[in-house]
C-alpha cells in the first residue's frame, strides 16, 4: 500500500534525475547551452560537492533553519492573534483586513534591503521578512476555518450554559484547526523563500548567503547543493506539520 503511494512520484524523480545525469555527464547539456562543462553540473557532481562541503553547507543550513523556524513561529503567533481578533469583531475585521491584504502586495525583494538598513545584518530582518510572508496564509486560512463554525452548535452550547470563551474553546477552535494547519503548511513552504530573500539583502551566513557567494564564484554545483538542502528543509517542515495535524485533528 505504502509502496504504491510512493512509487509513482519516486519513479518520476528518478527518471528526471537519470535524464539530467545523462545529458550533463556526456557534455550534451553544456554544449547545447554553449557553456563550459563545470557550469552545468550533473546530479552525481552535485551530490559529490554536497558530501565534500558538508560541514560548510550544514553550518549555513543551521543558520537558515533557525531563521525559518523563528520567523514561522512569530508569524504563527501574530497570524493566530489577528485571525481571532478579526473573528471576535466585525468592525475590527473590516478595518484590518485590507491592511492584511496590502501587506502581501509589498514586494519582499524591495522591503528586504530596507529592513537590513534598519535592523542590521543579524537575524531580525530575516525573521521579519519570513513572518511577513508566512502570516498571510495563516490569517486567511485560520479565519476561514473559524467561519466554518456551525451556528446551530453555538446556539446549542449557549442553551447549555456555555460562556463566550467556552464556545470559543470547545467549538470554534476545534472547527478552525484544520484551517490553521493548512495555513501553517503553506507558510512552511514559503518561509524558505523569505529566508533566502532576507539573506540576499544582507547576511554573513546562511544558505541564501552561500548561494549568493557561490554564484559570484561560479560554484554552480555547490549552488545546486544548497538549493537541494533548502528544498529538503521546506519539505521536512511541511511533512512535520502534516504529521502534527494527523495527531491533533484525529476526528477527520
Amino acid at each position: 500500500m505504502k509502496l504504491r503511494l510512493w512509487l509513482p512520484p519516486l519513479l518520476v524523480v528518478l527518471a528526471l534525475l537519470g535524464l539530467w545525469q545523462l545529458a550533463a555527464s556526456n557534455g550534451f547539456l553544456a554544449d547545447s547551452l554553449g557553456l563550459e562543462e563545470f557550469l552545468v553540473p550533473s546530479p552525481s557532481g552535485i551530490a559529490e560537492v554536497l558530501w565534500q562541503d558538508r560541514d560548510l553547507i550544514l553550518e549555513n543550513a543551521g543558520t537558515t533553519l533557525v531563521e525559518i523556524v523563528a520567523g514561522f513561529c512569530l508569524a504563527l503567533v501574530i497570524g493566530l492573534t489577528v485571525a481571532v481578533l478579526f473573528r471576535s469583531s466585525d468592525l475590527v475585521r473590516r478595518a484590518g483586513y485590507p491592511l492584511v491584504v496590502a501587506s502581501q502586495t509589498i514586494p519582499v525583494i524591495v522591503i528586504a534591503p530596507v529592513l537590513v538598513v534598519w535592523f542590521g545584518y543579524g537575524i531580525w530582518p530575516k525573521l521579519l521578512i519570513i513572518s511577513l510572508i508566512c502570516f498571510f496564509p495563516i490569517v486567511v486560512n485560520t479565519l476561514d476555518g473559524l467561519r466554518r463554525t456551525d451556528p446551530e452548535a453555538v446556539r446549542m452550547m449557549r442553551s447549555l450554559d456555555a460562556s463566550r470563551f467556552g464556545i470559543f474553546r470547545r467549538v470554534e477552535v476545534p472547527t478552525a484547526l484544520p484551517g490553521v494547519f493548512t495555513g501553517a503548511r503553506i507558510a512552511a513552504a514559503v518561509a524558505v523563500i523569505g529566508a533566502v530573500f532576507g539573506e540576499w539583502a544582507g547576511a554573513d551566513s546562511g544558505l541564501g548567503f552561500l548561494i549568493l557567494q557561490d554564484n559570484a564564484q561560479l560554484e554552480t554545483a555547490r549552488m545546486f547543493a544548497s538549493v537541494f538542502v533548502l528544498s529538503v528543509i521546506a519539505i521536512a517542515l511541511y511533512a512535520l506539520i502534516g504529521l502534527l495535524e494527523r495527531v491533533v485533528v484525529r476526528w477527520r
Binding site: D150, E152, A153, R155, M156, M157, R158, S159, L160, D161, A162, S163, G166, R170, V171, P174, R250, W251, R252
Partner: protein
C-alpha cells in the same frame, strides 16, 4: 399551578416576514407540550424563542417567571433538530458538555453522563467518536446531553426526525419513560402527528406561516400499555384523524 412556560399574544417576524402570530399557551410544571404544524410554520422558531435564543417581536414570554432572554436561556435546555454532537469529543464528553459548561470538572461531567449511558442502551460506546455511532445512538447521546444539564425545561426540536420509522417507534417507547423520569417540563416539536400524540399531554396545532395555534388536542401520555396498543386504540385514532384534518384544512399536510 403556576405555569412554567407561558406565552401571551406572542408575535415574531424576521424583517418583513411574519413567522408567528398571537401565540397563547401555558405549560404546567412536568407537563409535556407537543407542537405540530406544517413545515415552515415557525415551530422551531417558537422553541428557540422560548429558550432565550431569540427575542419575540411582540407579546410576553416567560420561563419559570423569567421573561428576559438571559432568564429564559438559563431555564431551558434546547435540543436542536440535528444532533450537533461535536466530532472532536467522545460520546461521553458530548453528553456531559452542559456540566463542563456549568463549571464542573470533566471527570464529574463524565460520571454524571455515564450513569445515563447504560439506561439508554449506550454502554460500551462511552469513548466512541460521534461518527462511529448510528443515527439513533447519536440522537440518544444528544438527548442525554440535554437531560444532564439539569434544566427545568427541555426544548426538543424533532428529536427523532433524523431516524427511519422503525427506529423512531423504538425510540419513542424509550423516550416516554425517560421524559417522565426527568420530571422536567417539555416542549416537543414534531412534524409527526402520531409521535406528538403518543408522547405529549397536550398537542397544539400550528397553522402555516405565520404560525397560530388553531387547536389543542389531548395527548396519550397518561395512557398505559405498550406503544403498539396505545397508538392503535380507537380514541387515539380519533385524535390522530382530528389532528390530520386540522393540518389538512390549513393547507399542506405534514
Amino acid at each position: 399551578m403556576t405555569a412554567t412556560v407561558s406565552a401571551r399574544d406572542l408575535t415574531h417576524s424576521y424583517g418583513s416576514l411574519k413567522t408567528l402570530a398571537e401565540i397563547d399557551f401555558e405549560v404546567s410544571p412536568g407537563e409535556i407540550f407537543g407542537i405540530v404544524g406544517p413545515s415552515g410554520c415557525g415551530k422551531s422558531t417558537l422553541l428557540e424563542l422560548v429558550g432565550g435564543l431569540g427575542s419575540p417581536t411582540a407579546g410576553r414570554l416567560s420561563v419559570a417567571g423569567q421573561s428576559g432572554n438571559a432568564g429564559r436561556l438559563a431555564g431551558c435546555a434546547w435540543m436542536p433538530q440535528r444532533d450537533c454532537l461535536l466530532p472532536w469529543y467522545s460520546a461521553l464528553d458530548n453528553a456531559g458538555l452542559a456540566l463542563v459548561n456549568q463549571g464542573r470538572s470533566r471527570r464529574e461531567a463524565r460520571l454524571a453522563a455515564a450513569e445515563r449511558f447504560a439506561h439508554f442502551g449506550l454502554q460500551g460506546f462511552e469513548s466512541a467518536r460521534p461518527e462511529e455511532l448510528s443515527g439513533g445512538m447519536r440522537q440518544r447521546v444528544a438527548f442525554i446531553r440535554t437531560l444532564v444539564s439539569g434544566k427545568p425545561v427541555l426544548l426538543l426540536d424533532e428529536p427523532l426526525a433524523a431516524l427511519d420509522a422503525i427506529t423512531r417507534a423504538d425510540l419513542q417507547e424509550w423516550l416516554a419513560p425517560a421524559l417522565a423520569g426527568s420530571g422536567a417540563t417539555v416542549l416537543l416539536v414534531s412534524h409527526d402527528v402520531e409521535e406528538a400524540l403518543y408522547l405529549a399531554d397536550r398537542v397544539a396545532v400550528l397553522s402555516p406561516r405565520p404560525g397560530r395555534i388553531v387547536a389543542t388536542v389531548e395527548g396519550a401520555r397518561g395512557e398505559t400499555g405498550p406503544r403498539d396498543q396505545v397508538v392503535s386504540s380507537t380514541s387515539f385514532n380519533q385524535r390522530r384523524q382530528e389532528l390530520l384534518a386540522l393540518l389538512a384544512a390549513r393547507g399542506e399536510n405534514k
